[in-house]
Subunit: 344 residues, 2 copies
């Protein structure tokens, strides 16, 4: 690997320039993405490591990002547990036999990710041989993952997962523990296959208030992250949506906390404490074009002032319709800003 | 009017018990709602004041809430400005000739709400004669209202309104000023027709970070609220989604700030300062049934400790599928809690 900026930033070591990658960088924003997918089902491609690896590496043909994030989906661990899942247009992942009552949890079958999800690790092994930047693996956190499992598909306000948790708190803890164990094993397997770090996505935890996060999410995320770190995995802890949760999210751990745009990055970093920080740019900014994007990026970089441990990213995934030329301009700007500022 | 608890709470005067009303209380949760609508288009009913007034008053037949909130829609002021709007299933309000570029703003026609939106005021006049609780009027704030106007329908991430604001900041301020003037006039007209207070809905402002809120939303909301207050209107300032905005939302003014569940109500009240407070219960809680709902309501009431100026409400509107028996249990619990606690 020639470019280890991201791995150094995760340790808060100084880097020659600010590292950047973008959530959902391997997707619809890239003209050749459709071609590579060739209209195959996403879930079929994931089980075809050479095809999936080509998509993971595709962004590097467009812009010099400092990491390649695995082309995968949060819900693929469901297959390991014996749950079938389909991608439905306009809905997202839909589970065939959802969990509706506590007894349904007993249907989940324990699994070894290295056996039942081997295609993910094979993809990583192919990529590590081929590309010059770290491969980032990822897993969902129990709350976010189970928002797709309970009642079969995610609801707009997370009302089904919340209802299950409040009505059956003991069963929820049992369900979360099942997933913590298997997700930690999956994260460690990705790391052992060559991933440079693993990001934990708790995309929907921001719909919770402080007490519910502390009681139903924090202990599980903390155990999940600690188990991976104990195995040597650098962990990025991602969430979005409720800045008031940031101290609790940070308490759950991770080498790096990934934050959204609802707080300025300097204020967020004060709450994150002595860790690396990632994120902050609103993905809708890129839809407003190059000039708006670079002005917002400049504001973030000026607030960070070159402090080691900053990984430039969005606060959530790239939106459909984002122009890859704007992404390219952003990546170049972030890489060149500190040097230009020093020279100016 | 026999029951003025809400109006007293807005002035932070002591009340005999905690007042409560619920956003979207006049809707699908009520079995007789469908019957009253008789499958007519919502927008047609609004222009039929006796029919609309029956729906506004309907919740009082089910549970003794302390206010009736006008059956109306945020987007009806569009009709005043010469913009046609339709309700589309699964999408919401869709505008026929949306604003896409700065020049489109000139198409908006100035209007007098007392003439072109007279049906709203007629509904209020009918209600005031008939019911024993205050009628609450409402308006949208410019950001939220225009998220339905720019590009024709609200997008999930508010990406179109944000893009417009960032690309055309001067035009945005002109557009917002048009709406501030006309929305303030509409709010005042509702008050003069008999509404006891007017709620300003900035439902989607929580998708913004602090700088954007301060630059593009705060000055307009502040002027809108102040103009109504100068005319004697008690104002409730509602938003949801980003607790970090709360100090700025409070700076925009209002007799009362309506907050969601992402901060505990006591922490939120500290940020709101010397004003009344409303809201806080997550509407998804009611989907989890009576026991969960009353436990969460108890927590809110225990945090408030009977401090004057608390109006019990949800943090956002009631969700489809909420059981009206659970709503009834909540309303009774809130009314009886302080007396039962004192007696215990």
């Amino acid at each position: 690997m020639k470019n280890d900026r991201i791995l150094r930033a995760l340790k808060r070591e100084k880097t020659d320039t600010t590292p950047i990658w973008l959530m959902r960088q391997a997707g619809r924003s890239l003209p050749r993405y459709r071609e590579k997918r060739a209209d195959r089902e996403m879930l079929a491609i994931l089980r075809d490591p050479p095809a999936a690896a080509e998509i993971t590496a595709l962004p590097l043909e467009y812009f010099p990002v400092d990491a390649a994030v695995l082309y995968n989906d949060l819900v693929t661990p469901f297959f390991g547990a014996g749950i079938n899942v389909r991608m439905e247009v306009g809905i997202g992942p839909v589970v065939d036999n959802p969990i509706e009552a506590p007894a349904d949890i007993d249907r989940l079958t324990p699994f070894d990710p290295n056996l039942t999800l081997a295609w993910s690790m094979e993809q990583i092994k192919l990529l590590v041989q081929r590309i010059d930047v770290p491969v980032l693996g990822f897993i969902g956190a129990p709350f976010t993952l189970c928002s797709y499992l309970i009642r079969g598909s995610r609801t707009r306000h997370q009302e089904e997962i919340k209802r299950f948790i409040w009505q059956h708190p003991e069963a929820w803890h049992r369900l979360a523990e099942f997933w913590v164990e298997h997700l930690a094993a999956f994260g460690i397997a990705q790391f052992e296959a060559g991933a440079g770090a693993v990001q934990v996505f708790d995309s929907w935890a921001g719909s919770l208030g402080l007490e519910d996060y502390e009681r139903y999410v924090l202990p599980h995320n903390e155990k999940l992250i600690r188990t991976m770190q104990d195995a040597g995995v650098p962990v990025i802890n991602f969430y979005t949506g409720n800045p008031a949760l940031l101290p609790l999210v940070s308490a759950a751990g991770g080498d790096c906390i990934s934050v959204d745009w609802r707080l300025p990055i300097d204020a967020a970093w004060d709450l994150v404490g002595e860790r690396a920080i990632q994120g902050n740019l609103d993905p809708t900014v890129l839809l407003a074009g190059r000039d708006v994007t670079l002005a917002k990026a400049k504001d973030i970089l000026d607030r960070v002032e070159g402090r080691p441990g900053h990984i430039f990213n969005l606060g959530h995934g790239l939106l459909p319709g984002t122009d890859h030329n704007v992404i390219k301009a952003l990546v170049d700007f972030v890489h060149e800003y500190e040097a230009e500022k020093a020279g100016a």
